[in-house]
Symmetry: C2
C-alpha cells in the first residue's frame, strides 16, 4: 500500500469498525488499554459523519470520556497514546499514535454532543464531567494482507 | 462485583470475545496497541480450551507472535503491557495489566501449536520466528454495568 491507499483504507475502516481500543500510560509507566466509542463509525454515529468527512486526510479522531476518568488523569502527565481500530473477523486493523489533547473549544464539544449521552453526563454538554479528547495522529500502522506504516510529516 | 464474580466474568468474556488488543511500550515511551488472537476464545481455538481451563483463577493468557515482531522488540526493553478483551456490542470489557514474559519452555510452545499457524511460521513449532508470550495479570479491570477493579496479591 502507498500512502494514499493507507489513508483511504484507514478512513474506510474507521467508518466501519465498532471496535476501538485506546491506550494511555499511567504515572508509573504502565499502559492501560480500554474499549472506547469509535466516533467515526457511521452506523453508530451517523450524526457525526460530516464532522469527520473533513478529516479523511489527517485521520483526526475525537474520543468522548468522563473528565473523572483514568484517561484524563493519565493524559495530564503523559500525552503519548495509541488507538487501535480493528475488524478481527476480516483480519483488518490500524493503529494510530501520537500526542493527544484535551479539547477546550466549546464549539467542538457542542458539535459532537449527542442527546443520549446524558446517561454518561447528566448535565448535558455543559457537564463538567464531559470531556472530548483530540488525536491528530503522527503515525499510522495498517494491517491488511501485510503490514504497512507511515508517518505524518 | 466481588473478586469471585470478576474472575468468573473475566474467564467467560475471554472465552467468548474475538477482540483482543495488546499494548507494548517502545523504547521512546510510546504505547503501541494492536489486535492479537485471543487464544482463550473457545470458538476460534477449541483445541486450547483445556490448557486455559487450568487458569480460570489466575486469568493467565498466552499470546502468539512472530519473534521478529515489534511486540518482542518492545518487551525486551520494557515488560509492562496491557491486554484489552472486549465485546463492544454488549458493552462488556476487561483489561489485564502486568509484566509479560517470553516463554522458553518448548513443551508449552508445542502444546499451544496449531497446524494452520504454518502460514505465519513456515517451519512449524520449531520455527525460530514462533514466539509465545505469557501474561499472568497483576491487575484486572472490568467494565459491565459499572467499572470494577482488583489486584492479584
Amino acid at each position: 500500500m502507498n500512502e494514499k491507499e493507507m489513508k483511504d483504507f484507514s478512513a474506510k475502516l474507521m467508518q466501519e469498525s465498532k471496535t476501538a481500543c485506546f491506550t494511555t500510560i499511567d504515572k508509573n509507566g504502565y499502559p492501560h488499554t480500554r474499549a472506547v466509542f469509535n466516533l467515526r463509525n457511521k452506523e453508530q454515529f451517523p450524526e457525526l459523519v460530516k464532522i469527520f468527512d473533513a478529516h479523511k486526510e489527517d485521520l483526526l479522531i475525537y474520543i468522548s470520556t468522563n473528565t473523572s476518568s483514568s484517561k484524563v488523569a493519565h493524559i495530564q502527565s503523559n500525552t503519548a497514546v495509541s488507538l487501535c481500530i480493528s475488524d478481527p473477523e476480516n483480519f483488518r486493523g490500524l493503529t494510530l499514535g501520537g500526542a493527544i489533547e484535551i479539547v477546550t473549544d466549546k464549539n467542538i464539544k457542542s458539535a459532537l454532543w449527542l442527546d443520549w449521552w446524558d446517561r454518561y453526563y447528566p448535565k448535558g454538554k455543559e457537564d463538567e464531567d464531559y470531556t472530548i479528547l483530540k488525536l491528530i495522529p503522527k503515525t499510522v500502522e495498517v494491517w491488511y494482507k501485510g503490514k504497512f506504516k507511515f508517518q505524518f510529516t
